[in-house]
């Protein structure tokens, strides 16, 4: 369980998250939606320790993580797929996967066949440099790279960005299946409504650095009033 209490965070003098409170229950997929500049990416970066919390607390499985350095937060089994994918483009697909697995434990390498089963294209391209993959394939690699570290929760930052809709849908259905079959928790930051509706069980709407409202998927499906309130410009 990921608990965020009165979190204040930002860059220098600019405060982005203002006393944010949020709880992500284990298992299932939660999505955070909101317009650009509302603090979604900052929230994920603060959870991962890439941006330091100015005040407030973050607990993962009841352990405080807000003052740990990023690599130690990763050891607590939080996986992070950053915006823009950020694969190691000079390394091959396999080297990317190996490196991420070794970051936590050598035993993670045993998960490689499973990863290839989930994302067969990565096996086909295993000896190719990651920088030469298409955007969608890089996104799959970025997700696979995080999964091979056996995280309990993964934080996904706009995985649909710059990827053609059919691939977005493919990634969304596959991730949903993985979450269902492994009990993995997913926290998805996304503006793509199709992806959110495919994957998420709960949707948190974010505005001006706060979580304003949390709704179930069914509620959202029946009326798009919330989407208009929180997403339309």
């Amino acid at each position: 369980m990921l608990e965020i209490k009165n979190l204040v965070s930002g860059y220098g003098e600019a405060t982005v998250l203002k006393e944010l409170n949020c709880t992500i229950a284990p298992g299932g997929v939660s999505a955070i939606m909101g317009r650009n500049g509302m603090g979604k990416t900052t929230l994920l970066k603060t959870i991962m320790g890439l941006v330091r919390a100015q005040s407030g607390e973050i607990f993962f499985n009841a352990v405080p993580i807000h003052s740990l350095p990023t690599h130690q937060i990763a050891h607590k089994k939080l996986g992070y797929v950053p915006q823009g994918r950020e694969v190691f483009d000079k390394l091959t697909v396999l080297e990317n996967l190996r490196l991420s697995a070794l970051g936590s434990s050598k035993e993670n390498l045993q998960l490689l066949p499973q990863i290839y089963e989930w994302f067969p294209v990565l096996q086909e391209r295993s000896s190719q440099k990651a920088g030469t993959l298409s955007g969608g394939q890089q996104q799959m690699l970025a997700i696979a790279r995080t999964l091979i570290g056996r995280p309990e929760i993964i934080l996904l930052d706009e995985p649909s960005e710059g990827i053609q809709p059919s691939i977005v849908h493919e990634i969304a259905t596959r991730l949903k299946k993985i979450a269902l079959s492994t009990g993995l928790t997913i926290l998805l930051v996304e503006q793509n409504v199709d992806m959110v509706m495919t994957m998420a069980d709960h949707i948190h709407f974010m505005e001006n650095g706060e979580i304003r409202e949390t709704v179930g998927k069914e509620e959202l499906r029946n009326s798009d009033e919330k989407l208009r309130t929180y997403l339309s410009v």
Binding site: M48, L50, P69, T70, H71, Q72, A74, H75, G79, Y80, P82, E86, F88, D89, K90, L91, E95, R98, L99, S100, L102, G103, S104, R145, T146, G149
Partner: protein
């Protein structure tokens, strides 16, 4: 493996050289091997680790002085022994690197030109310090350092001749080059590539960039320390110039000219530059430095990967595509 083939080929060629060359040139080749080893240490930390250390001679000099005082018996009750001296030299250089690295890389860390300036400044400070440390010979340095001594326990087996010394140095440098060749192709090598290009990304997977930087910095320092230690056994003389500014910049030029991202190219860069210096400085005197400067500019502008690495990599690429076609 292909990279190793080049290493094996180069060292096989080197191995037959003393059979052809005169005593004088074999003696020179001994120095070149050590400079080559020193260049390898910089290639590892700079070319692979992305840490531009402008004061690599710090570690060479520490190795040289530690070897000198230990084999001269100035560290009593520590016995004067060749093997012990080499180990102490490596350990002292690595320990200093660990200390220095902890300051330089902790927190956000110092990178790029700032790191270069600071390491250069430290090299100059240490050169000054050694010049004024009278117990260690001060400006005149330490003389009469014993040669390579393969003896064990109380038996001595001092190597004064250049040919046997060559084959001892050759074996040491060959082993280290092969080990480094294997290391940069291993998972640690991939980590170094990741560290060089995107250190922050490594943290997402539980790696601490500080630890990786310290590891590669210390390893490189230990190798530079070993080179310094072997150097004084050949030269019989340790002076403040071994720890300072000039040698630090020279090694940078060898490695940049040869190619910093390919171990064997950096190694050959050191040998080729020293060889060229030997010839050209006789022909042109100090104007030789102008030629070196010109070559350096040509290398930086036209062949940023290095004058030796560029053809080697082109050859390997061709070799690979032919193999794939077949």
């Amino acid at each position: 493996m292909k990279n190793n083939l080049f290493i094996i080929f180069t060292f096989a060629l080197l191995a037959v050289m003393p059979l052809i060359l005169s005593d004088y040139w074999t003696g020179q080749l001994n120095y070149y091997l050590i400079y080559g080893l020193f260049a390898l240490s910089l290639s590892l930390v700079w070319g692979y680790g992305g840490i531009l250390c402008f004061g690599q001679a710090i570690f060479f000099g520490i190795g040289a002085y530690v070897m000198a005082v230990s084999t001269k018996g100035m560290l009593s009750p520590v016995p004067a022994n060749f093997y012990l001296g080499l180990s102490l030299a490596c350990m002292a250089a690595a320990a200093f690197a660990a200390l220095l690295g902890s300051f330089l890389f902790a927190g956000k860390g110092i990178n790029g030109p700032y790191l270069a300036i600071i390491t250069l400044a430290i090299a100059m400070v240490l050169e000054r310090l050694m010049s004024n440390w009278y117990a260690l010979g001060g400006y005149n340095g330490l003389l009469d350092i014993p040669p390579i001594n393969l003896g064990l326990f109380s038996y001595d087996l001092e190597i004064w001749d250049s040919r046997p010394a060559f084959y001892i140095l050759w074996s040491i440098v060959f082993c280290i080059t092969l080990l480094l060749g294997w290391l940069v192709k291993s998972d640690f090598g991939s980590l170094l590539i990741a560290l060089r290009t995107n250190p922050e990304r490594l943290t997402y997977f539980g790696f601490s960039p500080l630890q990786i930087k310290l590891k590669v910095f210390c390893l490189s320092a230990a190798i530079a320390g070993l080179a310094g230690a072997l150097f004084v056994t050949l030269d019989g003389f340790a002076s403040p110039t071994l720890i300072g500014f000039t040698l630090s910049t020279e090694v940078l030029i060898w490695v940049a000219l040869g190619g910093k991202e390919l171990l064997i190219a950096a190694f050959l860069g050191a040998i080729a530059t020293r060889l060229a210096e030997n010839w050209l400085s006789e022909l042109f005197g100090d104007y030789w430095l102008l030629i070196l400067g010109f070559l350096f500019m040509v290398s930086v502008v036209l062949f940023p990967k290095g004058l030796i690495a560029t053809p080697i990599q082109a050859f390997l690429k061709r070799f690979n595509s032919n193999k794939n076609a077949a």
